[in-house]
Amino acid sequence: MIGEKNFYLNIFQVDVPALDRLIGEALATGGGYADLYFENTTYGSLLLRDGAVTSGGNHIDFGVGVRVLSGEKTGYAYSESTAWEDMLASARAAAQIACSSAEVSPYGTRNPSRGEPNPQADRYPILQPWRGTPMSTFLPFLQKLEADVRSRDPRIVKVMVNLAFQVSDILMYNSQKELKWDTRPMGSISLSAVFKQGNVTENKSTSRSFRCGAEMLSESLAKEMADDIVKGIDDRFAAKRPKGGQMPVVMGAGASGILLHEAMGHAFEADFNRKGTSIFADKMGRQICPKGVQIIDDGTLRGNRGSLNFDDEGIPGQKTYMVEDGVLASYLHDRISAAHYGVKPTGNGRRESFRYAPLPRMRSTYMESGSAKAEDLIAEVPQGIFVDEFANGQVQIGEGDFTFYVKSGYLIENGRLTQPVKDINIIGNGPQALADIRGVADDLSVDPGAWTCGKEQSVPVSCGIPTVLIEKLTVGGE
């Protein structure tokens, strides 16, 4: 939700002439570009545990970050106060990077994203504001969700529900005299349950996270999450570790998008390529997937956790095709890497807070649907594994080796799902896994969970994928 300009200037008690003076100080030692990032974030949380909402709190984070670029070098400092003297001290600290004058290249004119970005878009309108709504209003949602979950399965011994919300007012200004502002909401609910069957204990968890207001706390969402938490619990108790080794893997639609995030998304972030470390550093314009595959990083999905009206450098949110018809079409750029490669920034300059300089980061990363049917992809596999629930992933940029942790799935035997499996890690190599895609189904789903990417800083992202068959990955097992 975007307010009026003066609303933001008032929050931070600044005016444009003062911003110009501050930029002047930041550039006084010879820097070629400077920007300011003001942030006022309020957080709220409520925790239901042991049947009652007995824990909660509010948190305030306020400050301004000053960045100075000298060529591709970055000086950064921040202040938790917007008093002039404090901001001035930060500007002078950031200016230290520019010991000698180094021009900052202007970024190019070629636009790697699809279509011109819309700087007027409001991708997260708020119907019921988090701020100003008494927290007591939210308690019934948590209590009802807990009661609903408990009523579904007598094996449940513990239920925990956590509601976390935040609203960030952002004001950005730079040495090109671009002034941008935004208010970014985020609501997240995580639900976990512990089940006991005989002497065996199992846990399950699910989450939802959206850029929206408190209207997200609906009965339909509570029902959907309660359905999720008990779904597949019988299989979880029956699950076994498979025999490990290399085998075909069918990635179920939705959360399997973690494959794209880890196997290629990070390696497409242009800072790794600018430094030459990425395994995709010399593959621009080359075929890296089978023809027909489109992979996208998108900041424009309405209400999505990864969406942005503007990125954290003031570049409008946009939709970027990283892979078009199987060909590597674009890296993900911030201003620095865009200048390095001579293209327009793609709106991927993101940061955790005013405490950090922006880096190229993903938003919502997904693959477009193909034409196959999910059941046909499974039927193609004589011996392999199907996976659909994940915990976390990781990648080694230089080598391209990625992993993700599977919470649940099934063996595939003679083209049919058979024995449930759980708690296994899968490992592969990014370029090889992309080349090994053998089929893409027509069922794209973007996962609604609270995914967070932790590359140096934590930023909210999302991921999605249709059901995909990969010829060969290494599966952990006994």
């Binding site: 009652a52 824990s55 990077i97 927290m135 308690l139 990625f402 708690d423 890690n425 190599n429 952990g476």
Partner: protein
């Protein structure tokens, strides 16, 4: 101090029955290098006030970094309103006064503050960072060798090596380094008279290096060091170690899936200790989400395995005189000769579990040696054959069952020697089973790590590749 006391009193006046306040301040400076040149500098000053309120039998936790008096008073009033709308929780209270730390007065009792911090300037930091680069020394060597540009290839440089092997080593594609230093100061007060302070300095150096072999394949690795005292920081060899570790990754080969002896080096051995500590945490136990439920006093680990908490060693990284409740830390066994000796129970969880409180969490974990080996090389020689794991790539564990599966990288070991690197492999198992197959614990823990875990060796571990 005056601001914290004022907030404490103000919260009491506004209706809080009990209050705990923690004020923190940290100052950090960083110099980042890319290929031997300064690539970024950062200066960070953080202040925060954390407020824990007990009102009407209810509890809430709040924080703000807007520290003006009027703003904080408004924040406290709203916080108390928020607490009052929560549900009552009779288990919440401050710790018993007798358990609180009384010896953390100046914050410097543990000798973790280095006055050398005050002598550092921006120029000195740059100088230290630039002097630590291996890329720069490699470049100097390369210039001295006067080899033609044509022999150096399209990008990257070769390391400073002898004439005989200069062309057999891979190029450095990227060397990223960071030098940073910080000072951290915290003060915790509560409404029953607690005043506990902790101050420490920290100096860190870290490098990540990517190399490219003759076939264009990339291999990367890292090394780092951290210490409370500047004079102890290993600045000079950090970058060369990162380079050496990256070079050692060349020419990986696959190893057939099967059971092997697992050796974990000191850089990654804590990966199998942390889940055990988490499983002994009060919140996990109380929520029945722990594979060590009902384990207190039971011998679930092998004879001879002893893990201690040693939180009060002067000058030792990570040591603290008190936990976040202000409760005094003390040296104690966590596991002694295989027997579980403690859970980590703060005041709240201990009351919920109807057990005596201990400490919120382990502070400075130390795994004692087991067997005659003291170093990694001695362990390799003793083990003979197996897989040495030097790094993890992703993976996770199930806290309720103790099942785990992790991606690994390392070396295949035969007759105590590294035969070739391995990667794209996984280890899978259960923590209780893994620990029951413990073979050796060396005595070579890195002091810069938060947990003192030496090289470990386990038999019969499932590897997939």
């Amino acid at each position: 101090m005056a601001l914290a006391r004022h907030c404490l009193e103000y919260a009491r006046q506004q209706g809080a029955e009990a209050v705990r306040i923690t004020l923190t301040k940290s100052l950090m400076n960083l110099v980042g290098l890319l290929n031997g040149e300064v690539d970024k500098t950062s200066h960070a000053l953080d202040r925060s006030l954390q407020l824990q309120l007990f009102a009407n039998g209810r509890f809430g936790s709040f924080s703000s970094n807007k520290l003006d008096k009027e703003g904080l008073e408004s924040f406290i009033r709203e916080a108390i309103d928020t607490v009052k709308m929560l549900e009552a929780d009779s288990f919440r209270s401050l710790p018993a006064p007798g358990r609180l730390a009384k010896d953390a007065v100046t914050g410097r009792e543990l000798d973790l503050y280095d006055p050398a911090y005050e002598t550092l300037t921006a120029e000195k930091r740059r100088e230290m960072a630039l002097g630590s680069s291996y890329y720069n020394s490699a470049l100097r060597q390369e210039e001295l060798s006067s080899r033609s540009e044509a022999t150096q290839g399209a990008r990257g440089i070769r390391p400073p090596v002898s004439e005989t092997n200069v062309f057999s080593l891979p190029r450095i594609i990227s060397e990223e380094g960071e030098y940073s230093d910080s000072v951290f100061d915290s003060l915790t007060l509560d409404s029953q008279g607690l005043e506990a302070r902790h101050t420490e300095t920290s100096f860190e150096i870290g490098y990540e290096t990517t190399v490219e072999d003759a076939q264009g394949r990339h291999f990367s690795s890292y090394w780092w060091d951290a210490t409370p005292r500047l004079e102890d920081l290993q600045l000079s060899d950090c970058a060369s170690k990162a380079y050496g570790r990256a070079v050692a990754q060349q020419n990986p080969q696959s190893v057939p899936s099967g059971q092997y002896t697992l050796i974990l080096d000191t850089e990654c051995a804590s990966k199998v200790v942390t889940p055990v500590l988490n499983a002994l945490g009060g919140y996990s136990l109380q929520q029945k989400n722990s594979f060590l439920t009902d384990s207190l006093g039971k011998k679930l680990f092998p004879e001879g395995l002893t893990i201690l908490d040693v939180p009060r060693t002067p000058g030792d990284t990570g040591c603290r005189l008190f936990d976040s409740e202000g409760v005094a830390t003390r040296e104690m066994p966590i596991i002694e000769n295989g027997v579980v000796k403690t859970y980590f129970l703060n005041t709240y969880i201990s009351r919920k579990m109807e057990m005596e409180p201990t400490i919120e969490d382990a502070t400075r974990v130390k795994v004692l040696p087991l067997g005659e080996c003291r170093t990694l090389e001695q362990v390799l020689e003793k083990v003979g054959n197996g897989i040495l794991v030097t790094g993890f790539n992703g993976g996770n564990s199930n806290p309720a069952t103790g099942n785990f599966s992790y991606g690994i990288e390392g070396f295949y070991i035969q007759d105590g020697k590294r035969v070739h690197p391995v990667r794209e492999m996984l280890i899978t198992g259960n923590f209780l089973t893994l620990w029951s197959n413990l073979l050796l614990v060396a005595d070579d823990a890195r002091p810069c790590l938060s947990k003192l875990v030496p090289t470990l060796a386990f038999t019969k571990v499932d590897f997939s590749g």
